[in-house]
């Protein structure tokens, strides 16, 4: 008996078979996830019942939506006529009539091409930063931007010449990407000034000279860096740039404008509103908050007492005070710190505050990333003779930022949604600002769900895209194969 069990030779091989029906596909999934035990089964049934009632209650409202009407009353009339007196329904006609206010605020309609062009070019500027030198992705982005510009400018009845010029510019970008994808970063560098010029208009010399201030900073830095080191040289460069911006720029700009009056019609900050405003604040704050956050995080880990104290103070102060408090006191405080009689633009003020606010959060997120790096990484960088800034830039930051991507993106998404808080300083952001303006109209008085759903949907779309992008990035940067 024992002998026959101990020796065994297989004479026929077993062919692979499909798993039993209950262990495959949908059936298996349902069994394992929905009905794996009594408690789970009860919960599943309860969830299904509540889902059913939710759909039953809201579905008619969605299905009865009306797109063509001139007022809320007319909407209700149409719904009552079609589905009976007690029927409910969405009145999307409001969106159809007022969408431009939700998007552009009070921007003059004949100038809509300016924000649209800035929005399109934003992606051209972002492409090299978001996708590095990846040629295919950059081309896809450029094609998307070209299509978007073509369609929206066409829909807005712009000049054909105008559209043709813009398309030629896009073709130029495509050529640039094909020849030297990295060169597109130069466009990224000048984009902020370009966007400011397009959005606010006025003399072209203002933004050009502002960029020149950055050039002043760069030159001072390059000249002084070998002698004074990175920190001192950048500080002196910054001071030089500030002197340029605050003391010299406006007179030079005026002089140049009298010589060469090139410019666009100037617009005021209170004409901005809706998603245009949210994007201006969101994008500028996000792009400025990241570098500042990195510096604050490094500062907090620094051995130099002054820098460390300063960073800790800023971070803790900002994290301890609500954003709205800061928005309220902003006008007051900034008036104290700036030279008298500087007329400080409200949007710029808000951008600076939101930037500082999120930089503090970013700094803590990045500090977490830095703390997660093994000490050996810092030591290996030191042992190879890299100096502090090289080690940060080449070794620690790339790794720390990669670890911090989820945290950074969460902060950015929060920031983008927090732009709606600027309603408290009287800016017409899309959620409350524009919605209350629309509701003040006698035609749309009493409309409730539709504007919130519309605005919420756009916010969701933006935030969801950001979060998808961050997943792409995490995947792309995953090199440790652990």
């Amino acid at each position: 008996m024992a002998n026959t069990e101990a020796s065994f030779v297989r004479t026929e091989m077993v062919a692979p078979q499909e798993p039993p029906l209950s262990e495959r596909g949908v059936v298996k999934w349902v069994r394992e996830n929905l009905f794996s035990g009594p408690l789970n089964t009860i919960l599943t049934v309860l969830a299904l019942v509540s889902l059913f009632y939710l759909v039953k209650l809201s579905l008619p409202w969605w299905l009865h939506g009306v797109w063509k009407a001139n007022s809320l009353g007319e909407c209700r009339q149409i719904i009552a006529d079609a589905y009976g007196p007690d029927a409910t329904g969405a009145c999307w006609a409001m969106i159809r009539e007022r969408w431009h206010q939700f998007i552009f605020g009070f921007y003059p309609p004949e100038m809509y091409w300016r924000p649209i062009l800035s929005f399109g070019l934003l992606f051209v500027a972002l492409a090299p930063a978001l996708f590095f030198g990846d040629r295919r992705n950059n081309l896809v982005i450029l094609a998307g931007v070209a299509l978007f510009l073509l369609l929206s400018l066409w829909a807005l009845d712009n000049d054909l010449l105008h559209i043709a010029l813009i398309m030629m510019m896009m073709a130029g970008f495509v050529a640039l990407v094909l020849i030297a994808p990295r060169k597109l970063l130069w466009f990224t560098l000048i984009y902020p000034a370009l966007a400011q010029f397009l959005l606010w208009g006025g003399s072209v010399w203002g933004p050009v000279l502002t960029m020149l201030g950055l050039a002043v900073l760069a030159v001072v830095y390059v000249v002084l860096q070998p002698r004074f080191g990175v920190v001192m040289a950048s500080a002196m460069g910054f001071v030089a740039a500030c002197v340029w911006w605050l003391a010299l720029q406006s007179s030079v700009s005026t002089a140049l404008y009298t010589l060469m009056p090139i410019g666009l019609e100037a617009l005021d900050s209170d004409q901005f509103g809706g998603f245009l405003l949210a994007f201006v604040i969101g994008v500028s704050s996000i792009s400025a908050a990241l570098p500042i956050g990195i510096l604050l995080a490094l500062g907090r880990r620094s051995d130099m007492l002054l820098i460390k104290t300063l960073s800790v103070t800023i971070i803790e102060f900002v994290r301890g005070v609500p954003l709205i408090t800061m928005l309220f006191t902003a006008s007051l405080l900034l008036q104290y710190f700036l030279p008298p009689r500087t007329n400080f633009d409200l949007i710029l003020r808000v951008v600076i505050l939101v930037t500082v606010f999120s930089a503090a959060y970013i700094a803590e997120v990045i500090r977490g990333g830095l703390a997660a790096l093994p000490r050996g990484q810092f030591e290996a960088a030191d042992a190879l003779g890299l100096d502090y800034w090289q080690a940060q830039r080449l070794i620690t930051m790339p790794q720390a930022l990669k670890i911090s991507i989820p945290g950074i993106v969460t902060t950015f998404i929060g920031l983008f949604k927090d732009t709606t808080l600027v309603t408290f300083v009287g800016l017409a952001e899309p959620l409350r600002g524009i919605t209350s303006i629309v509701r003040a109209d006698i035609d749309w008085k009493g409309i409730y769900w539709e504007p919130y759903i519309f605005v919420g949907a756009i916010f969701f779309l933006c935030c969801f895209s950001i979060s998808r992008y961050s997943m792409y990035l995490e995947h792309k940067l995953k090199t440790d194969h652990r």
């Binding site: 093994p374 050996g376 290996a380 042992a383 090289q390 070794i395 790794q399 194969h481």
Partner: protein
């Protein structure tokens, strides 16, 4: 122990000159109130191959980390290749670019490929053109016998391969002195062999080396001097033959009997 060293070591290029590579005089170091290194005096000549051993916590790592200022000493003098280590950052960077270091846990940069790991410091510290740096890197990667892995990431390599890359990375800076801090103690026996082999090859070319290691086979085959440390002090130093066959102090005897077993 010595089965890790399978081959005959070629000593023809191992020449010790009378030039001083590292001079440590009256050096003391504290961690807070804890006196880790006590009155260290040590001269390393160019071409010497020194093995430092001693019980855990005796300050071996701390000592060699002081040589490239990963740790700061509080008293005494350390002169490396004619440059004294003070708080002057210029001197520190100069010494660090002349002294290569290999760590127990490799410390490769996981976000860079093997090739990028090797070219990074030459490009940024020595300002070597990228192409030239890559050629040098490939040369040293071939030397440690992994040129075909150049475009992989460190995470895709075995421990032994990673350690050999770490050695190649240091060599790309063309250092005059190499420091090894227990380079094999995180490795399996098979991999220990390949790493020791690389180190022997380096010794055969006349590199000045200080190795903290418990590979006594390596010490016997390659070192010209073995230093035994205990409680932050140099307790005994001697030529390997003398050191192993005829240890003088009781501590050394105890230590040797423990690590050689039986």
């Amino acid at each position: 122990m010595s089965e890790a060293i399978a081959r005959k070591v070629d000593t023809s290029h191992m020449k010790i000159s009378d030039e001083v590579a590292i001079q440590i005089t009256g050096m003391n170091k504290w961690y807070g109130a804890f006196h880790v290194l006590r009155d260290i005096n040590m001269t390393v000549l160019k071409g010497e191959r020194i093995v430092i051993c001693g019980p855990s916590g005796s300050g071996k790592s701390t000592l060699i980390r002081c040589v490239n200022r990963l740790e700061e000493h509080q008293q005494g003098q350390i002169v490396v290749d004619g440059t004294e280590l003070t708080s002057d950052l210029k001197n520190i960077d100069k010494v660090r670019s002349e002294v290569g270091m290999v760590f127990q846990h490799f410390n490769l940069f996981p976000h860079l490929t093997i090739l990028e790991n090797c070219t990074l410091a030459p490009i940024w510290v020595r300002k070597v053109p990228k192409k030239e740096a890559e050629e040098t890197a490939m040369h040293f990667l071939s030397k440690v016998k992994i040129p075909e892995q150049a475009h992989k990431y460190p995470g895709q390599l075995s421990g032994g391969q990673q350690q050999r890359v770490a050695i190649a990375r240091s060599l790309c800076m063309k250092p005059r002195i190499m420091l090894f801090d227990e380079p094999t103690s995180a490795l399996d026996p098979e991999m220990i062999k390949e790493v020791l082999d690389t180190m022997i090859q380096l010794a055969e070319e006349g590199m000045t080396m200080i190795c903290v290691t418990h590979e006594m086979g390596f010490a016997q085959a390659v070192a010209n001097r073995v230093i035994f440390m205990d409680q932050g002090q140099i307790v005994e130093q001697n030529a390997p033959k003398e050191f192993f066959n005829n240890p003088q102090s009781d501590r050394t005897k105890l230590f040797l009997s423990q690590i050689l077993g039986h």
